[in-house]
Amino acid sequence: MRKISAVLITIILIVILLIGVKDLPDFGRAENPSNNILSKTYLSQTTRETGSLNIVTGIILDYRALDTLLEATVLFSGAIVVLLLFKS
């Protein structure tokens, strides 16, 4: 019974993911969302707006700082949970 339900759940997940893949835009077309104005804006404006010569640091610590904050929180909670589990 468990095997049958596992196979069924897997097939349903595969079908859902393939339906998502079917709607992806074609590779390399000019009007794709990956070719929008955002990357050019970052490349030309980051140094002027944040003062950071390293554009990656300017993005992850200024424009996308909330994302970096949650990454740091993930690291913190990982370390704290491992400390609690292995407490002698």
Partner: protein, 138 residues
Amino acid sequence: MEKDIILKEVGKILIPLIQLFGLYVIINGHLSPGGGFSGGTILGTSLIIMHLIYGKEFIMKIYSRKRLVSSLSISLIFYTLIKGYSFLSYQLHLPHPSVGVTGRILSAGFILPLNIAVGFLVASVFYIIFTIFINSEV
């Protein structure tokens, strides 16, 4: 467990250089490739090398469990406070530091203290996870 004397003497030369390089990568995070995550990894690696060469008791004297956990927590709180003030200051028109002259160390507003906070957090996390898998405790 007594380690080789060559290992100890080479460690005396190499470990300060590794830590200096880690601090350099953290502090120059907004000017050159690198930043908090990579510099913190280098600092954590120097702590791991110290643990492997000189043993647990040596490193416990300068970086005990309590200090490790408090540096972890303080750097996360520091990051949250600075970035929270940064978000609020843009919204409520509070004063925030200017961008400054591009290319100086003391420029780029909040990015330098944020890099330092992330660097110390990552170094502490790396060392904690290493010691737990080596000793089953910190």
